[in-house]
Point group: C2
Chain length 412, copies 2
């Protein structure tokens, strides 16, 4: 009889218990032995829960119960969860988690502790909710050198952008709707400013390239400055604006990683990923492009990934399922994104806008101007050719003496 | 030092060797030990190959070499490959394969032999080429009861349908182009009539529901009867015609499985999957819908999956990576698709077509008529409501006394 404990009975925790109990019969068949949830740790009281008899408040009960083989840490954050996870792994108990913050900030260390103690630390749920991505990247695509990972990694911002694109709702109204529907928090900063997506691209990059990428190494900008005018220009040029997390190698020793809104060509499937859905595109030197799509958050989708990891741990108790990456001391491992090439969408405002065109063309060479219905005479939008970003900035600095740079958004 | 053998030096075999050698350094790092390809078995001579020194013609050299831990069987077919695979697994050597025919017809038996001999039989490459789907289905989604799998599983037919949809090329011309580009074989039957897709949906269904589904249990129809008129009607109603393999449970003891062209709503991402790309949509009771997309065939994409499996076998030598399904003696496990519900697109021809409308409405109740530019007076197209397929057929049989049933295509 294999016993499981769940730490945290919030949205993901209660979903994990619900899905496990619902499908327990077939889960036991897959594991090859009887297994059940023995404890649910939460500081709150749930007297009316059907699982009230499993509820505990003392972490040490789980830590010291030799029957417990696997613990689902779904409490979130990097304080208690960090401490608990270290203790559990040190005792040889496998831990599975949806905690992207913890994996993104302490992944290398926790994977090492797991390996040393002959158990597993799995986190399929930490990126893309229920979408299988960690295991496919680590195993199915292991024969490839990964050339790029780009993804829509945050459902809240994708919902907001979808409303802006499809229904011409402005950012503030779309955010309000997302909050009313429960897709966005009261304080939406972590989603809207890209911090959530940043943690996820850090995890994917760490796994793909073997070295921990910490969130503070990654430039991160959000969607709060995107206007409906930008959405319309993008649409007219054949693009959709999406918040994209990207990571790719520059050379054998360096990567670039960035989270920012981007113009995504409509020929790219990522442009068709709408509402709260997430998708991750991976390019490998053998496989070419593959894409993984699904619900990137939510109670049962995230629980699906947690329970999948629980099953894998139970099936391979006391056997390490190889997954690891090295720690990274050198902050220069992630190169400055300003030193890399990109195409940029730029919108400027100036009284004599039309007259600036020859100066702009002189600066950027072959560029593309974009139109929109009712474009005012004092506005111009264009897409630069591919060039080093700091060179684009230098040009825009000069240009800013004669106009206002109203928007600039990178292309994917 | 772990040694690998490759059986078959055709497209996938040579791709496997190429990708492995290209990325060998990082592969060895992932495996945690030095590993190399020792033998390549092929009856043909390749004197100019850079791997000529590894080429052999005698299978027994591989079988009897204790250094060989993993064999990639990429020779195809269910004759030699079947015999070789059984012998290798019986000796405790893991086998990885892209051979969908063999997995679809002998999977249960071969998985059992692998388990009994403490080795692995992996076949990520057998479905969707390089797209990760076997491992995600078996592991990441293990916490779900799978409710449906539907996929575009054959790149050749998807290329042909894309040409018909996007460029109004007729079937024969599109097939000819596919042959000229090397996407279709000289004898295109296995692709065009759906047999290739059938083997793949059998593998996915066997894995998802735990019981072998054999290809002869699955109704299979191809795309050779699809006309440009059908494509246009579908387009006007908001659908794209795609060759879809589907499997889903009917109850605890039965499934349905079918391969046929279908009208796919444009709100479904599968409708946007074009050219030689494949995509597989999986619905689980926890995760909801997830979709996996990429190149479903080709030298390096397929090799990507083969090499990924090789790495997994090397990492877990002498340790069984649990995956299995039961054999299935009972042909009624797959229920007759005629007994299940479906909506049907129907195109009829009759001199007095318009006058048949009241009879048709009487038969089918609430149905939807579709228009197309230049629709001749003697033609009507409509979509039936969702009903048992044999009831639709019974109606159409009656109708066929007054008209010609020119096309009928299921909706997804």
């Amino acid at each position: 009889m294999s016993k499981i404990a769940v730490i945290g009975y919030g949205v993901v925790g209660s979903g994990t218990v619900e899905l496990f109990e619902k499908n327990r019969e077939s889960i036991c068949k897959k594991v090859g032995k009887d297994c059940s949830i023995k404890y649910i740790l939460d500081l709150r009281d749930f007297p009316d829960s059907p699982y009230a008899d499993k509820m505990i408040k003392d972490f040490n009960i789980i830590l010291n119960d030799d029957e417990v083989e696997v613990v689902a840490e779904v409490v979130g954050g990097a304080t208690f969860a960090y401490d608990y996870t270290k203790q559990l792994l040190s005792k040889g108990k496998s831990v599975v988690t949806s905690n992207k913050e913890l994996v993104a900030t302490h992944g290398a260390e926790l994977l090492k502790i797991a390996r040393e103690n002959n158990c597993n630390y799995l986190f399929e749920a930490s990126v893309g909710g229920g979408i299988p991505i960690i295991r496919p990247l680590n195993k199915c695509l292991a024969g490839n050198e990964i050339e790029q990972i780009s993804g829509i990694l945050n459902g809240t911002t994708n919902f907001i952008l979808t409303k802006m694109i499809r229904e011409q709702m402005d950012f503030a109204s779309a955010l309000k709707m997302a909050q009313e529907l429960g897709y966005a928090e009261k304080d939406p900063t972590a989603d809207v400013e890209g911090h959530d997506a940043c943690r996820k691209i850090c995890i994917l990059g760490s796994l793909a390239f073997g070295k921990q990428i910490y969130p503070d190494m990654v430039h991160c900008s959000g969607i709060s400055n995107i206007t409906l005018d930008d959405v319309e220009y993008a649409e007219n040029a054949g693009y959709a604006i999406k918040l994209i997390g990207s990571v790719k190698p520059v050379d054998k020793e360096h990567v670039t990683a960035i989270v920012c809104p981007r113009l995504v060509s409509k020929s790219n499937l990522l442009a068709s990923v709408d509402d709260v859905y997430n998708a991750i595109s991976v390019t490998g030197d053998g496989v070419g492009d593959v894409l993984f799509y699904g619900q990137g958050a939510g109670k049962l989708p995230t629980a699906s990934a947690v329970v999948g990891d629980i099953i894998d741990c139970l099936k391979h108790h006391n056997r390490v399922l190889a997954m690891s990456w090295d720690d990274c001391e050198d902050k220069s491992y992630v190169v400055n994104y300003k030193k890399t090439e990109v195409s940029m969408y730029v919108r400027i405002k100036a009284d004599d806008a039309e007259e600036l065109k020859s100066a702009i063309s002189g600066m950027f060479g072959k560029l593309m101007y974009i139109e929109r219905n009712g474009r005012p005479d004092n506005e111009i939008a264009f897409i630069t050719p591919n060039m080093i970003e700091e060179d684009i900035d230098a040009n825009l600095t000069i240009l800013s003496h004669s106009c206002e740079i109203a928007s600039k958004i990178r292309l994917l």
